[in-house]
């Protein structure tokens, strides 16, 4: 396990681009801000397991986790996140997006823990999954453990296919099926790309994702 300490009042961004299996722990001191980006699109076979643990040890911490998994071929990916709000006045956001095609398999478990001392927490987890083939599968287990009473916490998870009415609307205006599909999928993925600070990197990633999608 690799451990990172985010010092008091420190602001850190981490970007993991097509990483191998990882087990990570982030400890946040008072008033720190952590943003994690996990972007996984290059594999078409094999298996990776990611575990991300975040502990908000001091008050007034912010945590944002963005996970974009574009799983193809016979690749299998497991992702587990666990955010522990140990004390009060914390904030956490998780945006977890999966796009799966071919025979890829995804497995996502996300746990948010609000300890008894963690009052005035604002915690949200959003997980959305898009299946582009009938043979791809995704399993999700979002979980909220709440031991404090004065908190705002929510999670949502949904899995579906491309919106057919949107596809038809776009085709009615002259876009081909694949053009329409690519636009819809890219906009879905961009939720995890747009918060990246570096503009050039953002554009690079969108280009790469677009070209992979066109050949998918």
């Amino acid at each position: 396990m690799v451990e990172h300490i985010i010092n008091s009042e420190e602001k850190r961004d981490f970007l993991f681009l097509n990483p191998q299996s990882q087990d990570l722990l982030f400890r946040q001191e008072k008033g720190s801000a952590l943003r994690l980006f996990f972007i996984d699109y290059s594999n078409i076979e094999g298996e990776n397991r990611f575990r991300v643990n975040v502990e908000q040890k001091g008050e007034d911490c912010r945590t944002e986790i963005y996970v974009l998994s574009f799983l193809r071929g016979r690749y299998r990916q497991h992702f587990t996140s666990r955010i522990v709000h140990a004390v009060g006045n914390g904030y956490s956001r998780q945006i977890i997006r999966y796009v799966l095609t071919d025979e890829a398999k995804g497995d996502f478990a996300g746990d948010v823990v609000l300890s008894p001392n963690a009052q005035h927490i604002d915690a949200q987890q959003s997980n959305r999954n898009l299946l582009l083939s009938n043979t791809a599968t995704i399993r999700t287990r979002p979980c909220l453990e709440i031991y404090a009473d004065d908190v705002k916490a929510s999670h949502g998870s949904s899995t579906g296919q491309l919106d057919e009415s949107a596809l038809f609307y776009m085709q009615q205006r002259g876009l081909s099926f694949s053009e329409a599909r690519d636009m819809l999928v890219l906009s879905f993925m961009s939720e995890c790309i747009e918060p990246i600070a570096d503009v050039a990197q953002r554009e690079d990633l969108m280009h790469t994702l677009y070209s992979i999608l066109q050949n998918a």
Binding site: E164, A166, F168, Y169, R173, S176, E179, M183, S187
Partner: protein, 249 residues
């Protein structure tokens, strides 16, 4: 005038249920037709079938559009040939910007016609010009397609897209529903301004009100999947006063 659309004995069904039961209709360049009829008559179905919606199955009949077999074309080719359907319920597409969407649509049509993609500055100029037609000034470029638009904005956005794409035949499905009188006037003025000698319009409505603003050459009454009566623009008043009952439907 040249024939744009010729429908002959068109039957179509959805989920095994026959909705269109033998439609015959011819539309020529320069004409405005209106289709009226009670709820559930099959008006939207006709628009969807002509536009190539994949949920409907055509079981009989033929449709010729600009001299070509329409029914054998995929939806996007029908659009590129110049068929436009303004949706009764325009679809919200979060994350897809109006600019990117319209640029793709316009360039696809241009490619189909053997033209180069439009230059970036010309495109933005065109967007600006066409937005004015529906008085949507600054509101459009960076917004996602129809996302968070009011009912009136959605309908104006349909007419805006029609203006951008300059279709030969526009099928406008309930373009008046949910509009207040100001929005109705803007939408109708837009449609009238776009009407030319070489294009045509098929209005679908069940309110006579729209036809005060866009005056059709022909009115057809659709009921139970068939056109049961056709007449000139004066038919609108008659339907307004007498309803549909006197037609024995």
């Amino acid at each position: 005038m040249n024939e744009l659309l010729h429908i002959e004995d068109l039957h179509a069904s959805i989920e095994g249920k026959e909705i269109l039961q033998g439609i015959n209709l011819t539309i020529r360049e320069g004409e405005i037709h209106a289709i009226m009829g009670p709820n559930g008559a099959g008006k939207s179905t006709l628009g969807a079938v002509l536009a190539g919606h994949p949920s409907y199955e055509v079981t009989q009949g033929k449709v010729v559009f600009r001299g070509k077999d329409l029914l054998s074309m995929p939806a996007e080719q029908r659009a590129r040939e110049g068929l436009f359907l303004s949706f009764q319920y325009p679809v919200e597409i979060p994350g897809v910007s109006m600019v990117n969407f319209m640029r793709a649509a316009l360039n696809d049509k241009r490619a189909y016609e053997g033209k180069e993609p439009i230059a970036a500055t010309d495109f933005l100029k065109l967007m600006r010009e066409k937005k004015q037609l529906v008085e949507m000034a600054d509101k459009l470029n960076n917004r996602s397609v129809n996302e968070g638009f009011s009912g009136g904005e959605k309908k104006k956005n349909e007419i805006f897209q029609m203006a951008m794409l300059e279709p030969r035949l526009s099928i406008l499905d309930e373009i008046d529903s949910g509009l207040d009188i100001d929005a109705l006037r803007i939408v109708a003025n837009g449609v009238n301004a776009l009407h030319k000698e070489d294009n045509a319009c098929l209005l679908i409505t069940h309110y006579q009100r729209l036809l005060d603003y866009i005056v059709p050459d022909y009115i057809h009454v659709l009921a139970n999947g068939k056109i049961v009566y056709s007449g000139g623009k004066e038919l609108a008043k008659e339907l307004e006063e007498k309803g549909y009952e006197w037609l024995n439907i």
